[in-house]
Symmetry: C2
Subunit: 733 residues, 2 copies
């Protein structure tokens, strides 16, 4: 237990450092009055949207918590579930809220800071990004350690092995709370920001020919608000969910894998938490390392960021050996390699993303070149490249899964599918995802500072600062795009691993659900009987026939794939519809208020803000509720094997689709930037216009539908876990 | 055995009727000298491309046949496999060749015929389409009955139950030959036609503002050749493959399900063939029913086509009861309902396709309306609609799978996963796909006459016939689009069912492969032993642990999903690249040969033809070979469970992706046509230009990548089946 206390300590340290960075940032000047007022306007818009969003989300949470209470009353869940569920949602929202608050305070200050020097701006934006990184991990570890201590105190100790399984599966329900909140934040924020972005670009850039963030564009404030609610608050909630999900599912699988050995069981539950805690300390070290000389160029800035991340990663890898050794794992070396596999896989996926989306490599340059023959070929080649780009991450994750599985079982290949090996192997896969996310506080800092720099550029443009300022913020922004690629790699890769771990946790939850309803014996089809308390993953698979010759599994896989496509369709159309209203409103203002384009009259920003707000609120409910309903309905109709098929199909298609969308979107964005750097005719040319079409289509790909899929994959598993009691009690076929 | 002879009889009747229709069509006049010469040019272009394509394919076939010979030599396959493989490819190519030959003779005659009356043209085009439908089913049944008779004569009768399993699994290898040939035809033809189409449209329609098929457009001949090699020859080979695949996989599962009862085993093998044979007779009846009054309007024409299809379908449904009763199936009523489930599912999927892609329904009209805000919103809403449209077909196929499974087992839900039920249920799913394709000769006729009408329009335009002729061929073409939606529904739906049946056949082939290598006992993990000859599907699943907690299965699912995306990416990029060369060539001719646009000089058509030919030949190899390599490599690396995961992942993602691509592409096409019917500004407006971008992106979606996926799904299973001997003998983990 002694090492466990590292977890709350890490949590408190993270929050203190975050508060320190926040206070430091707040001391800086926001610049001129004009900058202050614009920043204030953006801040107010973002905050008021977030409040609106939370109002909707709170209603959903109350309804679901009531359902869980009823389930608990009928013995289908335990009494802690509604509370755990709510805290997960609350902390996730809080992480997004604090991150966004910081970002909206930081952007004008960054714009002001780059007036002095690029380096000064980088440091300010990066440390403000770090606030979000630290708040996310700090709140996550706080929630995890608090709930662990509460449940450890209250849950009855009828059977030590079973107690930890109870605790860890209950804690997964706060993961579900975090997931739902994250999905709403990603979908709602994504619709908001991309509708505004698309609307602003299509009329402003393409039709009126005014630059990005020009104050004459009525949608420009909405666009900048959007960066905050989508890219900052949405991302914060998203990664809070990923972080909790990976730790909690690993803990649940640890409780299962070591069920026969109480001491090791406890250690296996603590291991992911402690690795995460050590990760926090070492990431803080990395954050402090990021600093450069005042006259640094962009390459040196980049190196500096990378140095911070790499130092953290290497030290975490080394500490893992020590932690797992101290926790008495007999196969501590193998398990450490599982963790390291996760870390390395995250980096490879990030580099693959960078290769396919950066304008210094062939694929994106080819997309840019296809702009010579118009928008249609830009779209075709962007889609084609995105499809092809899925191969590197998928192959990487396939190897990562197999290696982390085998490594955890001591590479006993001939025996790899024995019940013991499967338990250990799944624990190995889960802990690989913890490894992948252990550097989260620093990678998230490199990710979150992008939108801050982006907003700083917007404020610079709107405040008519000298062009050099805008150039510098653009440089920071494009640096952010590159580092964000790595961040995205970690987010997508960890979603695949965690999704798989959550499928295994679902099987574990079946045990709990069966025992709760008093079923203690599994009557197998071959006439054998197995005690539920002692049944292995393999036994459960055989009992429920979760094989690929079971039509319920196969149809489940079809449904899972369909869910991914349907979800993308609903979110894409939501952006499309809201963007169309935005385009029409911007066109109307340009047409009816003649003074806007000459700069004599101020456009009506707030009408555009309210179009985005209403669109996001209206459109986010259906896809999110569908994600909650799918596993419940599948369970009621087709039982356990159907649900597992659904999760596997959703995981397979969702992972690949998420990469496709992120990479197509990123590549279109950078192909456009490549042309803007005076290639192929440069700004204003026909090629440029064609590339803007690509970028516009890519917007909802990379910032709405794509990142939401990471959450969808996990949310469906979480819902299945929480509803396992219902599925076990009742299913049609 | 007596009923079996219906199969060769049906085959011969189909071929005779096809020949009769062909001869009748040839008697008609091709019209003016100009029309003759243009038709001749298109015919020569199409034939010379097909010859080029076959040259490449023959090399691939020789190499693969050599590999199978080596495998047979080492006891990993039987000696018949290389020959069966080659005939499958040969007949598939022949079906495409005859269909295309007929189409290229029919199009000028159709153009000439509509000069007299619409109805006259419909009948000619429809009967020419029927030639292809009849040739496809005739050759398929010929190949099937010939091989059955040969193998029945030569295969040793060591053990009657095992003999039929040997015969049916061997026959599956000619399915593999058909699949590979079909994939090359679809991919090569698809690249050819869409590169030409995109190139012709982008420069001709958008830049030069000349109409479709204008003789001044250098790419117009290539475009018309493309319709033949892609939409006719490609589709013929494709559906030959689907038809054989569904019958052969059903036969193989029948041999397995009734292994303990020799008489019923024989009948279960014959049942799908006889249902198909009866389907041929009744479809011919339907074809003769299609005729209308001379002054018929488009609605009456449509009704007439539908009447033909419906009469065939209803009679087939009724006959099924009789056939299965005469074949002594104890559950003949349940199995008949499985067949009917397939038929109905095909119709529902077709109607779903029609709803989402027809310009008389909301989804497509919304896409057209999004053109008001430019090409980016057209693309976003087209993708969004396509994603959403996957839900109807997926839900339909999910219900069809479950109902046809349960119906075949007598709705014994509590017992649905017993070994006997699983065998029967899988047979039920397989025979549902036979039901779905039993009307193929008439549905394919309604499908194939579309490209004929399309080409007739092209010839009318190029021969400067009066505009009324073009209007009439356009009317026929648009009628063809609607009926083709149903055809596509059958093709996609049957691919899902057959893909699933082939996965089961793969498991059956494992038995054959194990027995061939002398392994007669499965040592199960729980200590039991089971004879290979008597092992059920459930036993094989348990033995190889093909469950969703096996990391090899899950990683296989990831790889399967990835294959689908990668394949789409390669084919999309192939079209994009070839189209870009085409655009540049057309632009060059317009620029350098001044007289083209004034009509004073003839463009150089053959340069455009050769760009498409070379592009198709160069680009079709990699995606096709990848599809062959993936199951082999997965098997060598991860064994049986990895392969099954690959197939399940490919099936799940591939089915959904195929629908998405077909429907997005179709909806964009019809959104453009909707605008061209004087809506939203009509031809030449900004909205129209935006909608052309959508249509252009949709071209490779609906005619290259999308339809190829249907084949990919099945080809990967076929390769796995043929290579099972290798996987069983050797795998890394």
């Amino acid at each position: 237990m002694k090492y466990f206390y590292l977890v709350p300590v890490a949590s408190v340290v993270a929050l203190i450092v975050a508060y320190y960075f926040f206070k430091q940032m707040m001391k800086k000047s926001e610049g001129s009055e004009k900058m202050k007022s614009i920043a204030g306007y953006i801040r107010d818009g973002a905050m008021s949207y977030l409040k609106q969003q939370y109002k909707v989300v709170i209603i959903v949470f109350i309804i679901l918590a009531l359902i869980f209470t009823v389930m608990a009353y009928f013995g289908m869940q335990n009494n802690w579930v509604p509370f755990a569920f709510i805290t997960g949602g609350f902390f996730s929202a809080l992480a997004g809220f604090f991150g966004m608050k910081t970002a909206t305070f930081a952007s004008a200050r960054t714009a002001h800071a780059v007036q002095h020097s690029l380096n000064y701006g980088l440091k300010l934006a990066f440390r403000s990004g770090a606030v979000m990184g630290l708040v996310v991990v700090g709140l996550a570890l706080l929630d995890i350690s608090a709930w662990y201590l509460i449940l450890d105190y209250f849950v009855e100790d009828a059977d030590a092995g079973h107690k930890l399984i109870m605790i860890t599966t209950t804690m997964l329900t706060f993961g579900m709370g975090a997931s739902i909140q994250a999905l709403f934040a990603r979908v709602g924020g994504g619709i908001y920001t991309k509708a505004a972005d698309v609307g602003a670009d299509l009329v402003g850039k393409v039709e009126a020919g005014i630059p990005e963030d020009d104050p004459r564009n009525p949608a420009t404030i909405a666009d900048n608000v959007g960066d905050n609610v989508g890219d900052v608050a949405g991302m914060g909630a998203d990664l809070y969910e990923s972080y909790c999900g990976s730790i909690l599912s690993t803990a649940a699988l640890g409780a299962s894998a070591f069920v026969l050995n109480p001491t090791m069981q406890q250690n296996a539950v603590f291991a992911p938490m402690i690795i995460a805690a050590i990760g926090v300390f070492l990431s803080i070290l990395g954050i402090f390392i990021v600093k450069t000389k005042d006259e640094a160029n962009i390459k040196e800035l980049m190196d500096s960021l990378n140095r911070g991340v790499n130092v953290s990663a290497i030290f975490i890898a080394l500490s893992t050996f020590l932690i797992l050794y101290l926790l008495d794992f007999s196969n501590w070396i193998g398990l450490s390699f599982s963790v390291i596999t996760g870390l390395i896989a995250g980096i490879i996926i990030g580099q693959g993303t960078e290769y396919f989306t950066s304008s210094s490599h062939k694929p994106t340059i080819r997309i840019a070149e296809s702009a010579k023959t118009g928008p249609a070929t830009v779209i075709i080649s962007g889609l084609g490249t995105g499809f092809i780009s899925t191969s590197i991450p998928v192959l990487t994750i396939v190897f990562a899964i197999l290696i982390s599985f085998l490594s955890a079982t001591g590479f006993d290949i001939s025996n790899m599918l024995s019940p013991e090996s499967v338990s250990m192997g799944l624990y190995g896969i889960a802990i690989a995802s913890v490894g992948m996310l252990s550097t989260l506080s620093i990678t998230l800092a490199t990710d979150a500072y992008g939108p801050i720099a982006d907003n700083a550029g917007g404020i610079a443009e709107m405040s008519n600062l000298e062009p050099e300022v805008r150039n510098r913020t653009d440089m920071l922004d494009s640096l952010g795009n590159t580092t964000a690629a790595t961040g995205k790699g970690f987010a997508i890769g960890s979603a695949a691993l965690t999704g798989l771990a959550l499928m295994a946790s679902y099987v574990e939850e079946l045990r709990v659900a069966l025992l709760r309803t008093g079923e203690t014996i599994l009557y197998m089809s071959n006439g054998n009987t197995i005690e539920v308390a002692k049944a292995s993953f393999v036994d459960f698979m055989n009992y429920y026939q979760v094989t690929l010759m079971n039509p319920k599994v196969i149809t489940g896989i079809f449904l899972g794939s369909m869910m991914v496509f349907l979800f993308c369709g609903l979110t894409m159309n939501a952006v499309g519809r809201t963007a169309q209203s935005m385009v029409e409103e911007v066109r109307r203002q340009f047409r009816e208020i003649k003074g806007i384009l000459t700069g004599e009259e101020t456009p009506n920003y707030s009408l555009c803000v309210s179009i985005s707000t209403k669109g996001a609120q209206r459109e986010m409910l259906l896809p999110s509720l569908l994600a909650v309903a799918a596993p419940i309905l599948t369970g009621l109709f087709m039982g356990v094997s159907g649900v597992m098929g659904l999760l596997a199909g959703g995981l397979g298609s969702g992972f690949v689709m998420a990469i496709f969308m992120a990479n197509s979107g990123g590549a279109w964005d950078n192909a456009k930037k490549y042309i803007e750097m005076d290639n192929l005719g440069g700004k204003g040319s026909e090629s440029h216009k064609a590339s803007i079409v690509g970028d516009t289509v890519g917007d909802p790909f990379k910032d709405t539908s794509g990142p939401s899929l990471n959450i969808l994959i996990k949310l469906m598993s979480m819902v299945a876990i929480v509803m396992a009691g219902l599925t076990v009690a009742w299913s049609l076929i």
